[in-house]
Symmetry: D2
Subunit: 378 residues, 4 copies
């Protein structure tokens, strides 16, 4: 890329296409990006706004343009009001960024497949891809990153020849020449039919399943036990959450997909999976606020029995949204820099990453190395 | 050192001289070393028994010989029985290592100064040093490491010309030509009178204040908040413990010394000390079992208020003893390898280390580098 | 009282005079009373709105008229907006009851004594009493209840001949012929100078120190241990709170007053005070949201050591306000019914009650008996 | 009963026949009864040893004779050693009561039905009853109480004509003319075939499912929310336990039986079952030590959202054993006093009682009334 072309590109905008664009995470990310870009709030929770990323030539927050697919009809400004009443968005923010929300809402297209939809997988992929391409062209975007933030879908049924909905969208992203991020535990690109397509087409991708609470803690605490030579006997956990994710995960099949990611960090870090179960309970009255309790029984010197318990209380959307914005910027820049295939440097963000280390400290070091690589890329 | 001399030295024994040799930590370390060396228990909690240290040429557990100073008179075998009744030592262990405990007890000399003791600081230092040298000679030890595991003493009174008791023992260690480890928050070598003596005399030393519970967790969790760009507003904590340490820390002056170390890790890692207080409560009925509750209030995206709480329940002596054995071996080997002065590579073990990073992951990396250095030293 | 006079009185209004009328508790009570009376919210947390109180002839919420003393100047409608932003009042409520808040604000008079105030105790009492009497007359109120919800004052200095500020207001209430409720741990009527005055003047009073969180739990849990013959060894606790109360209680003297109440429930219920300390920490960033952690170490059969821990997270003002409204109604009706002196039937509401049982279940039974007595009174 | 006959009877012994006589609860009860009777330990956890029961003419601890059925073969003295190593029994106790344990072990008969057992229900009942009658006659006991402390059995399959094992033992108790206590959630007498038999035969009985941890707390805390008019939105809980009960409850059918009892106390006390799930996880490494975490989301004034969390850590057998001894004594005395049928006055002890109030305070009052009734009976 010539310097001149870079200067031109630097001034061009970057698309962020959410699968699940009217959900809590997408609404919070869209509203929050506008608020932080306008200086109304500090960029708390956005790792890409910290000094180590300053020279990585990431697209600015102001340059991001939002759109997406959703099956829900409630307009984004109204969703933002709902999230304010629920305590997710701060008082006054929805009104302050109403224009940006309405603009993004205009770029939301119907998702699918709806029950009774007779289109083939190929037709659906083509239709979704056309929506994304149209968005990219209309806004004259340098590129568009597709990010899945929809509710968790059930784990795929072995032998089913149809693609899971998340995989249809992932295929559409690749079809439209877009980098792809899967922030959910749904299948996305993790299916043989799509496995190598992204790399073949020169597209970077990242996933799977954003690490926002219990698993974040586990990826920090498990290495401590290893480093101190303490023997973890049992690691048990219960998650309470309402909102869309709580309801989706009340389906045992969906919960199984999510729990597989949660257990991976323990098995990878501790060397073996300890005793213990993870529960995900749908508690509608908690809304978007989630609580995770972990109970870790470990042996110390001479077999003495000790216990660590942790209780994490946070707002799911507020935990996820800044990471989603981080991933949009990092993946867009990776695409610009010519990277393709899985990005193990982004394992910091995921429960079930595409390779790389399992402990958070090592993942952070890998992320900094990735930031340096972006800095030094053309 | 010639190869031949090394071979000779390898077969020689290494002394571990505990200041506070009849306390819970020293008793657990002495009994536990014998039990692990005899294969009765796995070396849980001993970092130096993990693979990265296999080639560091540390003295074997079987080569360690124990002795020390104490003002208490209760013999070690009886102390071990008491610790069994209190649930600190496992059933049957005290009987299994009774011989080793009795032998160590024979090498315990009276500590001081007792109330009314009229000896000068210099006389006390000379007396303590003579005890240590006698121990080293009688057992024909290659060297002796002096380790302070006595109860926390009150913070020194500014302007008091007398040395704190912990400093008298530290000076005696140097006088006797021994490496020194301060596992407590007491002053030890951290006084101008002794500050540079160790390095001058070619002796390595390490300290201060073993990191066994709440601060261990803090050194793991604080970096997570930084790496995730989350804003810690307040970090509050309460520690409940009985046993000797609980009683000692019921003295506000002693607690102040300990809390200074606890706060250091937050200030060093987070960049600024957040709101919040640390309490240390003496709860005699808890005995050697301690509980630490931490409450961390942090802000996420758009100012959303979130909370992490941790509860750590462990046996103080069982947490400390394997670290004390680690430090004895590492410091003895450092002495053999010709290192002198503070050992920042051992910051992994301390609340208030002699330099080096503050987060546990970085401290672990530094420890591994130190292990490699020992491996490669003569 | 004749039936006719009763009918007249039933239609008359009752005054609620808050000492600390612009504080969080008073603002929440004033706003909440209007909101519940208007049917905007259910009366959650108001015991007097439950069926057992239906026949006790309490003044209706709509009949309550609010005023008070305060040294702060910020108008109630603005305070309500602040409490909305802090998450204490729900979105939209402040606007809905703006008229009622403005009306109450017009009835707030300057408190005191301000620093440098040269008035004698007698002059201050007379001045405060005149304010209250003026309020009662202007609004043609059947009676006015004075309720102290100001920040906790330091424990009185023994030998100080001056009355504490809370006692000045309490004396003013009696002087004005008003029932008095002390919802704080401040002195109020608990001083020899005032001890018997209320009864002498035929005025009922209630106190001291509203039971809204940790002590509420303790008054429920302590009886369980007694009834199950379990032996409580240590009961430790830490309270974190910001807001005015947190700041006031950062003063050790004020905290001492509060803790005395907290310990009373344990001593009274368990028969002896167990080991353990209570801490109250000022954590400004928590605002009005408080967290209380309790750690109860108890012995079971054959000395087995067990632990119960509780974590209570609540909004201080939202916990206190409905109880304050309850007390206003109950005390007003007690006055109407001719009761005077301390009301031990209201111990349910207080940490440090005027007699009666210590366990919550027994206190609830006493409260129901009190409700029946009010029902049957003239 | 004449005074003389009473004096004779007072000196006679009372049998306690455990179904599950070699389990942790029975072993702890048998060993503990001997230890307390010998003055080696205070009767912590035994409600019947508190003053209100002093005049109820309960059989003394020294008068109890133990025997029972079990399918396991490990002798009681060995089981007690195992429980000592596991920290359930205190060091030294097993040796001190070895004689009593061996004696009780001699009175344990094989349980059943074993897999492949071809005996009919009637034959099994007759065989079990003969064992009990033989025990009663050999020891010349005034009476024998049969208590089910075996592992929880799966919930009965609707339509299965066979009696559940617990019901076979219950029928045998009645057949042998013995009072019956069901300390487990298994069916026992709660089946139409046996429903009215006990009353018909003049035998008292009590059950079901001993209340030792999470449900005990719930029966104390739920009334608090009701009495304070706070609105419980969701009550979630997770139990971790190893030991036999953990393994038995890993079977979802057995867990369902247990959870039904746990939910009953909430539904009965709160008036409606709130949101939330109860999990029982088998965590073998915890052994007999169980942990229960509860998370209670409730609304306060004006809909403010608050949370109470509790963590209960106790030794299951040490919690159960003193209650089992209480029930043996109370039921034996009830039999002596001529009471028959269900004893609602014992609801204090059960998750799923035979009538009576649901809150612990009311259940304690009912228990005291029952104690008075026993005192006043012939």
């Amino acid at each position: 890329m010539t310097e001149e072309r870079r200067r031109v590109e630097d001034t061009r905008k970057v698309g962020v296409w959410f699968v699940g664009a009217r959900g809590s995470v997408a609404t919070t990310a869209t509203a929050g990006c506008a608020a932080v870009a306008a200086g109304l709030h500090p960029p708390t929770g956005m790792v890409t706004e910290t000094p180590p990323f300053a020279a990585s030539r990431l697209p600015s927050l102001a340059s991001l343009v939002f759109g997406g697919h959703d099956t829900a009809a409630c307009p984004l400004p109204k969703r933002a009001e709902e999230l304010t009443a629920a305590g997710v968005l701060p008082y006054g923010l929805a009104a302050a960024v109403r224009g940006e929300l309405a603009a993004a809402d205009d770029d939301i297209r119907p998702g699918g497949p709806a029950p009774g939809d007779t289109r083939t997988d190929g037709e659906l992929i083509a239709s979704f891809a056309a929506d994304i391409t149209d968005f990219t062209h209309r806004h004259r975007l340098a590129r568009t990153v597709v990010i899945n933030v929809a509710s968790t879908e059930p784990a795929p049924v072995p032998g089913d020849p149809r693609l899971a909905p998340s995989s249809l969208y992932a295929a559409a992203a690749l079809h439209a020449g877009c980098p792809y991020v899967n922030f959910t535990p749904s299948t996305g690109l993790r299916t043989p039919a799509l496995h190598d397509t992204a790399a073949t087409r020169g597209l970077p991708h990242a996933g799977r399943d954003g690490k926002t609470g219990q698993t974040l803690l586990r990826s920090v605490l498990a290495p401590m036990f290893v480093q101190r030579a303490l023997s973890v006997r049992a690691w048990s956990g219960t998650n309470l959450l309402g909102g869309g994710d709580g309801a989706a995960l009340a389906d045992p099949a969906a919960a199984a997909a999510k729990n597989a990611g949660k257990e991976r960090v323990l098995a990878d870090t501790l060397g073996a999976l300890p005793e213990g179960t993870v529960h995900i309970d749908d508690v509608p009255s908690l809304g978007d606020w989630k609580t995770a309790w972990d109970h870790i029984a470990f042996d110390g010197f001479l077999g003495s029995r000790m216990v660590l318990q942790t209780i994490w209380q946070g707002c799911d959307s507020a935990l996820a949204a800044p990471l989603v914005l981080d991933l949009a910027r990092l993946t867009a820049r990776a695409h610009e820099a010519g990277l393709s295939g899985p990005l193990p440097g982004l394992g910091f963000y995921f429960k079930d990453p595409d390779g790389g280390p399992a402990g958070l400290a090592d993942q952070y070091a890998a992320l900094l190395a990735f930031a340096a690589r972006l800095r030094d890329a053309r």
